[in-house]
Each structure stands twice: as C-alpha cells, then as structure tokens.
Amino acid sequence: MTFKRYTVALGAMLAVGVAGAAAPAMAKVEGDTIILGSSISLTGKYATNGLHTQRGYDFAVKTINEAGGVKVGGKSYKLAVKYYDDESTPARGAQLAERLIQQDGVEYMLGPYSSGMTKAIAPVSEKFGVPMIEAEGASRSLFTQGYKYLFAVLSTSEQYLATAVDFAADKASSPGDVRVALAFEGDPFSMDVRAGVMDKVNEYGMKVIIDDQLPADLSDMSTTLTKVKALKPDILIVSGHSKGAATAARQIDEMKVNVPMIALTHCEAAKVQEKFPKAANGFLCPTQWVESLSKSDPMFGSAAEWNAGFKAEYPSYTSVPYQSAQASAAVYVWKEAFEAANSFDQDTVRDAIAAVQMETFYGDIKFSENGNNIAKPMFMRQIGADGSYSLVEAADDMVFPRNVKY
C-alpha cells in the first residue's frame, strides 16, 4: 500500500518534471512574464549603437512593468527580454535567432541593431512564424521581401535626405538649375538613402554634377572634395555612416569647402558638432526623432518626458540618441499589440501588430502592408555655430547659405 502510494507520488513528480522540462520549449510566457527575445550587438563594430538599443528596450520594459505591465485576458503580465550578443556578425545573429526560437522557445522578438543584422535575422523569424518588431533596420530592401512577421517602427532609409533636396529646391529661383554633388558609400543603407535623393533630384530636374561612390574603409575622401571645390555645386549630400560623417567633416574643414548647403547622415553618432565645430556649422542632419517633438502617449508621456526619464535612468548621456527612443517605441508596440489581441497566439498577435495605429512619444505608428511605419516622417536638423541642433521644418527655418569662415 505504501509502496503504491510512493509510486503514485513518484509518477506525479515525474509528470510535473516532464511538464517542467517541456515548458521552456513553449516558454513565450513563463508564469506571469512575457519573454521577448533579441539578438543584439554588444561587442564588435556595432557595439555602441547596440548598447543604445538595448538600453532603449530595457528602459521601456522597466517603465511598462512599473505601470502595471501588460494586461491580457484580465491578468497582468510583466515583460522581460532575453538577449544574446551577436558580435555584430550577421551569421552569428541568424544562429542566435534560431537558438532563441528553437531552444529557448521565444515566440516574440525585438529586432537587432542595423539593417544588415535585421536582414540576416528576418528570414529566420519569418520561417518560424515569429513576429518581430524592430527599431533599428531602416533599409528599404527589408520591406520588399514580402515578410509577414516583420514590423519596423522607424522611417525607412530612402526618406533620410530627401527633404534636404526639397529645401534646396525651395531656396533656388528655379529648381532645375540646382547643381547637386553626391558622395555615397556603396552599402545597402547608403544606396537606399541615395535612391530617395535621386527620386527627388529627378522630380525637380536638378543636375547631378558629381556622383562619387565612397569605399567601405572610408578614411579619405579628399579627391571627391577637390572636385567639389572645382565645380562649386549648390548642395553637397554625403552618406557613409559615422565614419563617412567624421571623414567628411574633418576634410571639409581641412580643405575649406564652401558649399551653401551640406547634408549628411549620422552627424550625431560621429559627434561632428563637438569634434569639428567650425566645419559642422550649417550641416543639415536627418534624425528619426527629436526630443522637442510634440507627440505623447499615456505610457511615457511626451517626447521630452521620455527623454528626461531616460537620462535619469542612464545619466551618462548628455544627449540621447534616437536609437534608444525608437527601441523603447518598439517595446511599447508589443504591449499595445498583446492587449489588442488579448491572446498569446502568435498569429492573432501578429494581426494585432499589423492593425496598430497609435500616437507615441516617438511619433505616430501605423504599419504598411510591408511592415514599415508610414505614419512618422523623418526630421531635419541644422547644426548652429555653437554646435547645437535646431529643428528645420521648412526651408525658411534654415541658415542659408552656410555661414562659415575658415
């Protein structure tokens, strides 16, 4: 009799054990915690921006949990993120995404940092039908693959510098006379930016007088700038990530390049206003988000309030990179989607994400059929003589021509 009782107890324990062991395989929700997975670059060449992203995720998770978490089926759940370091290599990222999904049983994902990494990971999450909300992959090519489970809260890359061309057209007596100089790196992101610029240039019938491609190991673009000085274009447009911005600013300074309008990406990341204050005066720089934006939401408040909260959490930031803001927005979309779906079923949640339409501190969010956010514009800022950034909403807001005395 006792023996029998023991066997039953043992059997029960075994059953619990098996159930416990099997649980991780479907552990999208453990107890009252919803686990989001992310492979993120904490080492390697994207380490800095990877960290900005991770902090954006963590800050949003903390804020949402403190405000009561996510309510699904009348019950409150906390959010948590499981991270792996992808070492900034796409192959590793794809491997880790598979590990998150297959071994750790993660069913909802947050994106990695950069278009390249997102490109490597999206096919994996797509294959397993795992919805992924990403905040750091802007390449247009991510949204032409017909992915059903990929959503991005940020504006796509072809919008980065297109407004600068609009401004140049506004400032010219006849847009057709504007002479444009282009210097773009050959990577997918910069080529997307260039495509957006070229669409506008062709629309206005402007003349492209210099069209140079910059190398990936970019440390010297003096030949391009020599040509710029000889041909005197009305606007110079440069894109090549932080290294492109740093090299361009340094050599524009050194070669005393005087072009009335200069627009380039990644000014903030390269800190051109601090390192080359003289040359950077008058640069037009696109950004995904500005803290003076007049948008707000019930979770984080206004853009300025999110900014203040983030700085209080991470006091090392003097100015908060937009990469962190959009990362927080991605987590916020997950909360909204879970609550709208009122379910943990992947496809129901996926459809809820697709239907999301919300105002956030980061701007409006509404996804197109391809998964990119079509409700939020890019913003253009100009660097002033004192190194500050000011928002340029129309051509008349900007200092034109650049007023630099070398």
Partner: protein
C-alpha cells in the same frame, strides 16, 4: 569619367596640384609601413598580415596620449618605443615558433593576430571613427583651390626624418649590417657569430615601431577605426611586391607612385576605387614579372 578627365586637364588644371600633394602625403605614410613589411618579409620570410593593425594600434596609442596633452614629438617617441617592445613580445610569444614553418602557417598566424588586435582595440576604444585634431592652421593657394593643412606637412617631414634615420641605421650600424647579413644567408651569418634569433626579434620589433610611427601620422592626418588595418596591409603588400624586398629607395618610390596612382584613380574613376588601385598595380606587376621571367627561362632552356 570623361567629365572628370575634362575637369582635371581642361577646366580646372590647378586641382592637379591638390591631387599630387595628396598623393605625396599618402605615399609617405604607405612607404613607412611598407618598409617594415619589406624587412620582415625579406629577413624572416614572414608575411605579416597584421601589418595594418600595427599601424592602427600606433594610431590609438597616439590618440590616448593626446587626450592627456602630450606634445606630438614626444608622442612619436613614446609610440615608437612602446611599439618596439610590443613587437618584441609578439616575436617571443608567437613569431619565433612559426619562423621555420611554411608560408601558410605564417599567413594564418599573423591573420589570427590581426583579428585579435582588431577586437581588443574595439573593446578598448570602441568602434567609432576617431581622429586627432591638432587645430593647426591650413594654408591655401590659388584662390582656395589648393589647401595644405600643416598637419600633413608635419607628417611628411616626420616620415622623411624617420626614413633617413632608417637608411643610415641599415647602412652604418652593426645591427643594420647584421640584419642585412641574415637576410642574405642566415646560416653563414650564424657561422660568423651573428645571433640570428636576436636579429629576427629586433627586425620584427623594428617593423612594429615603424608601423606605429606610420599610425601616429595616420591618426593626425586622417581618421582611425579598429577595423581599418586591412587597407594598410593591402597597400603594404602591393608596395613591397612592386618594389622588391629589402630595397628601401624602391619602397619609397613605390609608396609615392602608389599614392599618386591611388589619388588619380580616385579623381578620374571615383573615390570608391582608390583602394582597388594598389591591388590592380599588384596584379599588373605580378603579370609583368611572370612574363619577363618566362623570357629568362626560355633563354636558359
């Protein structure tokens, strides 16, 4: 491309001066790092794929020293000495063990070293592009069409001084003679009482010091990033292949030649092809050598 040619030779010939100057400035830096490679290759038969990473490491040392306000001349001395010590350590720990192995072992080992150095620099200094801005005046001429930053003039002078010292050292000093003797015939050198192991260690350390010096110049005239080493390795290999081993005047000539060729390629075809220029020269030199050697072989037959 036709537009660019027209611009260079018809519309604004004055910009040729700028391009030639840039070519000379880059050439001087390339020659410095290439000469070190020519030495280790010629003396020890080690093809050092971490050459460019030594350059970048020198650059980061300079960057770290500038942040504590050390003057440039002193930075140069400190970097040369500490890179020399680093080179000696690398020799003792690693290179000594692969010196008698075949070519692939030396390529693989130095490639591994290159990866290791990149990642360590990335961990310490971060992946952002950095530069030393000395805030020195920039001279201009021809109605601002030609600009010459004083930092580039300083770097050219420094490169020239170092080159002269190296030539004198290799010609006159006992160690220089020992290096040349070991390069010619290590066995005979050993018989005559030269400690070849020490010569090898010195040569490798000397190479690291030269690279470090080049790195200081790179960081004051361009930008550095932990992963930029490879472009300097490629250029060094191209220059050494074109000039031949152990031929210092040849290396300097080839350095300037490749610098100019690179800048003109950039101006005519596009900046993206600048780095491709030395590689295409490498290819042409190899083909040309192959053809000329074949002619020799036929004579022998």
């Amino acid at each position: 491309m036709l537009d660019n040619l027209q611009l260079l030779f018809v519309w604004a010939p004055v910009i040729n001066i700028q391009i030639i100057l840039e070519g000379i400035f880059v050439g001087a830096v390339f020659a410095l790092s290439a000469y070190g490679l020519a030495l280790v290759w010629g003396v020890m038969n080690i093809k050092n794929l971490a050459q460019g990473d030594f350059v970048i490491m020198g650059g980061y040392m300079a960057l770290a020293l500038t942040s504590v306000d050390v003057p440039l001349a002193l930075i140069m001395v400190i970097v040369i000495i500490s890179m020399f010590i680093y080179g000696w350590l690398v020799y003792v720990v690693m290179i000594r063990r692969i010196i008698d192995q075949d070519m692939f072992v030396s390529l693989l080992a130095t490639f591994g070293l290159s990866l290791l150095m990149q990642q360590v620099m990335n961990l310490i200094f971060g992946p952002e592009v950095q530069t030393i801005d000395m805030e020195l005046p920039v001279y201009d001429a021809f109605d601002n069409m030609v600009t010459i930053p004083s930092s580039k003039i300083i770097s050219l002078v420094m490169a020239a001084v170092i080159a002269v010292c190296v030539i004198a050292f290799m010609k006159k000093s006992r160690t220089g003679q020992a290096i040349r003797a070991t390069a010619q015939d290590p066995r005979a050198a050993r018989v005559l009482g030269i400690d070849t192991d020490r010569v090898y260690a010195f040569t490798f350390a000397f190479n690291a010091a030269l690279c470090g010096a080049a790195g200081v110049l790179v960081s004051i005239i361009w930008v550095i990033q932990p992963f930029y080493g490879i472009t300097y390795s490629v250029r060094s290999f191209a220059i050494v292949t074109a000039a031949g081993l152990g031929n210092l005047p040849g290396v300097i000539g080839a350095g300037f030649g490749i610098g100019l060729f690179e800048k003109y390629t950039g101006a005519i075809v596009g900046t993206a092809y600048e780095v491709a220029a030395p590689v295409s020269i490498l290819l042409l030199v190899l083909i040309w050598r192959q053809i000329s050697m074949r002619r020799n072989r036929q004579v022998v037959q």
